[in-house]
Symmetry: C2
Subunit: 239 residues, 2 copies
DNA sequence: CTAGTTTTCGACTCTCAGTCGGAAACAGGT
DNA sequence: ACCTGTTTCCGACTGAGAGTCGAAAACTAG
C-alpha cells in the first residue's frame, strides 16, 4: 500500500560575508522547480547515516575543510513537499568562518538571507529554521567559534554577532561576558590598525572549537556548594 | 542500486510518576529483539507528515488527550540500527502531566529512566536524548506546563523539577523566578494541608500552555531602552 | 606637535539568583 | 485553651553578572 519513501539530506550552509548573513544555494537547471534556488544535498546512501551523508553531499559543492560546524535541524516531511514522489528530508545547519572563501561550482552562489531569491520546494523554511537555530545557539553556547576566523579582534567579533543576531551588540559586554565564561581568550598579539589609524586591537581566539553550553538557567543550576568566599570553612566542633 | 528506505516515527513519552521520571514502552513479543522493550511508534503513512504520524501511532497506546506536548528530537539513521531492512527513524519527545494516569495496553508499561530494562534497537539512545532535551528546555523555557497538573502548589512543582532535573531545587527561588518571568500565576485558591497539618499551600497555574522561551543569553538580548525606572525621562533641553 | 580615530579598561548601577530566618496557618495532643 | 510540630509563605541580605558611560591608551595623518 505504501508508495516507496525516499530520504534526502539538505544543508543550509551559512556564512557572514560582507557584513551580512548569507546562505549557499545552487540554481536548478531542470524541473521540478527549474530556475529556483536549492540547498545542497541529495539522497541518503545505503551505507551511511544522515550525518555522513550530508558531509558527503556537501563535499560536492564546497571544501568540507571550510565547514567548521554541522548540526541536525530536523525533519521536513510534508507529503507534498516534493511533487510526484514521497521524499522525506533531514535538514542540517552548516557554518563557515567569515574569513573563508571556498570555491563553489558555477551554478552555486551565496545569497543574503535578507534578500533570498525564489527557493525550491520548502527550502525557504529550512533556511529560516537554520537562522533561528543559529540565533538561539549564539545565545547560550560558544557556537561563535564556527563563524569567526581563528583569530579576531573584539570589534570584528561584534560585527559577526550583529550580522547573525540582527540587533546591536555592545563590544564591551561581549568581551567581558565571553572572557568571563572562558569562551574567549587573548592570544597576546595585536592586529594592525585600520587605514584611519586608531589603537591596535588585541587578538582573541575561542578557547575550544567544539560546541559547549555556556549559560544555564538559574533554577536548573545545581546548588552551589558552601560559600567558599568570605565565609570560613566547614565549622568543626572540637569535642 | 538503493535498497528501499522505510521511515518510522518513535516517541519517548515521559511522565513523572511516584517522584521519578518514567518512560512509556511496550514489550516486543516477536523477533527481532523479542522480549526487549520498545518505544511506541510505527511506519510513516503515505499522507501524513512525521508530526501527524507520531500522534496517530501514539493514540494506539495512550489517550492523546493526556499528552500535553510533543516535539521532534531528531533523526536516528545508523544503517544497521534495525536488522535486515533500511529504516530511518524520526524520534520525538512526548510529555504527560504527573496527575494523569492514562490507560495503556497490557504489553505496555512505565519504566523509571534510572532503571531501564533492556531496550530494543537504539531506543535507549532516544530515551537519553529525550531526557537531555527535557532537562535543557526546563531550564530556559516554560516547558514545565507539560509535566505539571493544571493547578499545583509550589512544593509539588518543586518535586517535579527535582525529579526531572535530578538535583535539588529551591522552592523559594522557583516561585520567585517563575512568577517574575510570568511563567506562573497564583489562582487565588489554596490546597488542603497534608495529613501532618501545616499551612495550606497556595495554588498556581502556568500562564500559558504553549512553549515559550523565557530566558535569553545576555549578549543576545537586544539593548534595553532608556532606563525608565528610578531615572527621569529622557532629558529634554529647553531651547 | 596636534587633531582625529579606534580600542581598551575601570567605575557605577541595576537586575536577579541564591540563601537565610522569621512569621503565618494548619493538625494533633495535653 | 494551650503548646508543639509541621508546612508554607514572605521579607531581607548578599553576591554575581549584565548594561552603561566615560576617560585613558595607542595609533595615523597632517
Amino acid at each position: 500500500m505504501a508508495r516507496p519513501t525516499e530520504h534526502e539530506v539538505l544543508a543550509a550552509v551559512l556564512q557572514i560575508r560582507c557584513g551580512s548573513l548569507q546562505v549557499l544555494a545552487w540554481q536548478r537547471a531542470l524541473p521540478p522547480d527549474s530556475g529556483r534556488w536549492s540547498l545542497p544535498g541529495g539522497l541518503l546512501g545505503d551505507d551511511e547515516d544522515v550525518e555522513q551523508s550530508v558531509r558527503r553531499q556537501l563535499a560536492e559543492k564546497v571544501d568540507l575543510g571550510e565547514v567548521t560546524h554541522v548540526e541536525q535541524l530536523g525533519v521536513f516531511s510534508r507529503p507534498d513537499r516534493v511533487p510526484d514522489v514521497r521524499r522525506v528530508a533531514t535538514a542540517f545547519l552548516g557554518l563557515v568562518p567569515s574569513d573563508a572563501d571556498p570555491a563553489v561550482p558555477p551554478d552555486t552562489q551565496w545569497h543574503p538571507l535578507a534578500a533570498l531569491p525564489p527557493t525550491a520546494f520548502d527550502h525557504a523554511a529550512i533556511v529560516a529554521d537554520a537562522h533561528d537555530r543559529l540565533r538561539a545557539k549564539l545565545s547560550y553556547t560558544n557556537l561563535g567559534f564556527a563563524l569567526a576566523p581563528r583569530e579576531f579582534t573584539i570589534s570584528a567579533l561584534r560585527d559577526l554577532y550583529v550580522a547573525a543576531l540582527g540587533h546591536p551588540v555592545s563590544a564591551t559586554n561581549l568581551q567581558r561576558v565571553l572572557t568571563r565564561r572562558q569562551v574567549l581568550e587573548p592570544t597576546g598579539a595585536v592586529a594592525p590598525p585600520g587605514p584611519a589609524g586608531g589603537r591596535p586591537a588585541a587578538l582573541f581566539r575561542f578557547t575550544d572549537h567544539v560546541l559547549r553550553v555556556t549559560d544555564a538557567f538559574a533554577v536548573l543550576r545545581p546548588p552551589t556548594g558552601p560559600p567558599s568566599g568570605p565565609g570560613e570553612a566547614t565549622r568543626v566542633v572540637v569535642p
